[in-house]
């Protein structure tokens, strides 16, 4: 994995003052009343060279790299609500690249390389914090599976270390390693380069940088139809009129099946709620991220001090952006045993996002049978970590109408050839 991704040609933001400690000081002088707009609010043009549907992190990153790396600046991002209002702004922000299969290692590590330095690329503080991600095992079987996975990860040149219960206790003092509990901590593995980032800032940073390069970011603009001319895409119908374009990239996560149906295409996706909750803020007690695949729990502490807890995916399809109670209840029951300090905390907020789950728990980055229509979806419960890498390879796919080496295995035709990238069996869950 010794290569360097092409981060694109972009120096200072065009037209806008650069964010820095000096601009912060200068604006403090005017009580922060004079900050410039981070991006324009343009009217949609009648025609673009390409249109990206979905203003989440993946869609905005795609647009940014199309402009920065491939020089496509006459493009638009259409978002039905507000930027990052989908799963981008609802996720628990875990970033890691410790996946079993080579294809996964390639794309998630590509993303991690881009995360390292993204704040500089975008001139935006995305609060990327490589605080480590520790995955814990609760059974003999999980331990063995874990050591297999660690070997595979290391062969791909990605950092990963196995820890015993005592080492875990030293690393995470609030954890309970009593072996008599329902989910005893029997070991774990740590990716030190993993961590978290501020989700909204990622969307805003890409939006601001893409806008600098001339990309039109259009919010409150819902795509209601995909217009085809025979086998090619002709444009998109929106709540703000028809927009003509020869290339359309759909990056709408939980709504990808709805979008595909507009073009008469079928996907192997099931849309499910995934839930998370945060507690009242407390003093710092946890400076890393802990995940448990057996419980379907992941926990970290935000910079504000809230404990951020994520649960497993609900068992039935839904577009309701709220989840069922049994799922978080199960997670919290195990959570208070593993972290007794949680039992006294009050929860402040609880929400759900609709995630696009794929049969092999790997994404779809693909052309379709309709020329000029591309899909980037199926990231399910774990696509935030991939945001920069996903946008980077999808931009390349749209610009050149062929997948590069990293994207190729994620083509839709793997469901016909059987070349699945089965991260389900490998990782249990993937956040």
């Amino acid at each position: 994995m010794g290569y360097k991704p092409d981060r694109g040609a972009r120096g200072l933001p065009g037209g806008k003052p650069k964010y820095s400690i000096f601009s912060l000081a200068r604006n403090a002088g005017s009580y922060h009343q004079d900050w410039q707009r981070a991006w324009r609010a343009p009217e949609p043009k009648a025609e673009y060279d390409a249109v990206i549907i979905g203003g989440g992190g993946h869609g905005l990153a795609t647009a940014y790299y199309m402009a920065a790396v491939h020089g496509m600046t006459n493009i638009a991002v259409l978002e039905k609500g507000w930027l990052g209002g989908g799963n981008t702004g609802r996720n628990t922000t875990i970033i890691r690249s410790n996946y079993l299969w080579d294809e996964s290692a390639a794309i998630y590590e590509h993303a991690l390389k881009l995360w390292e330095g993204l704040a500089q690329d975008l001139n935006f503080n995305i609060m990327f914090s490589q605080r480590g991600v520790l995955t814990i095992a609760h059974s003999e079987h999980e331990l063995r599976e874990m050591s297999r996975r660690v070997h595979a990860i290391k062969l791909n040149g990605i950092d990963s270390d196995v820890l015993g219960p005592e080492e875990i206790k030293a690393f995470v003092p609030i954890i309970n390693i009593d072996q008599s509990i329902r989910y005893p901590v029997m070991g774990g593995f740590l990716q030190k380069r993993g961590g978290t980032a501020r989700h909204d800032a990622v969307a805003w940073g890409y939006a601001r940088a893409a806008d600098d390069l001339g990309v039109d970011i259009i919010q409150n603009c819902e795509v209601t139809g995909l217009r085809r001319n025979g086998d090619s895409i002709e444009g998109v119908e929106t709540t703000r009129g028809f927009i003509k374009t020869p290339k359309v990239g759909c990056v709408v996560a939980g709504h990808c099946s709805v979008m595909a149906a507009m073009a008469g295409i079928r996907l192997p996706i099931a849309s499910r709620p995934l839930q998370a909750l945060v507690s009242e803020p407390i003093k710092p007690v946890l400076d890393t991220v802990i995940m448990s695949n057996a419980v379907h729990m992941y926990i970290s502490q935000s910079d504000k001090g809230e404990m951020v807890l994520g649960a497993g995916v609900d068992k039935y399809n839904s577009y309701a952006q709220r989840g069922s109670f049994p799922t978080p209840e199960h997670m919290i029951a195990a959570g208070v045993e593993l972290f007794p300090i949680l039992s006294r905390l009050r929860m402040l907020r609880h929400w759900g996002g609709i995630v696009d789950t794929c049969p092999d728990a790997s994404p779809i980055i693909s052309r379709t049978d309709v020329k000029g229509l591309y899909f980037n979806c199926g990231w399910g419960t774990g696509g935030f970590k991939a945001t920069p890498g996903s946008g980077h390879v999808f931009a390349d796919l749209i610009a050149h109408d062929r997948p590069n080496k990293i994207a190729a295995p994620y083509s839709l035709d793997r469901f016909q050839t059987g070349l699945l990238i089965d991260e389900h069996g490998a990782a249990g869950v993937a956040h």
Partner: protein
């Protein structure tokens, strides 16, 4: 939380059930004549509507029997519960059954016992 009416046990809490996903996916009988794409329709591709969805449920912690449910994926309202092997009766669920792309697939056609005119050589 869903309150699901098991046709055999009556109203029970969602916790007692497991969801088996899309209903009415028939295993193709003439599977060796299907193309890979047609077999993928059966094996991997799924109906995933925003609105009325026809799905299978099993009363895992009860009678352990399967049945079909027509449920709205936005409001979570359960529109109809009906037996395996049957199609729904209410208008909304009937419309969803008819609208599903699966009704047009070769796999679905191949699941019906072969009739001489039933399949053109694909």
């Amino acid at each position: 939380m869903l309150l699901i009416k098991c046709p055999f046990c009556g109203d029970r809490d969602e916790l007692e059930f497991s969801c088996g996903g899309e209903a009415h996916i028939a295993r193709p009988l003439a599977e060796n004549t299907l193309t890979d794409a047609e077999f993928a329709d059966y094996l991997f591709l799924r109906d995933n509507p925003k609105g009325v969805f026809l799905e299978r449920w099993i009363h895992t912690d009860g009678c352990r029997r399967w049945f079909n449910v027509a449920r709205d994926t936005v409001s979570h309202e359960i529109i109809e519960v009906y037996p395996m092997g049957e199609t729904p009766k209410t208008e909304a669920a009937k419309a969803a059954h008819k609208a599903s792309w699966r009704r047009q697939t070769a796999a679905e056609a191949a699941a019906k016992p072969a009739s001489p005119a039933g399949r053109s050589g694909s």
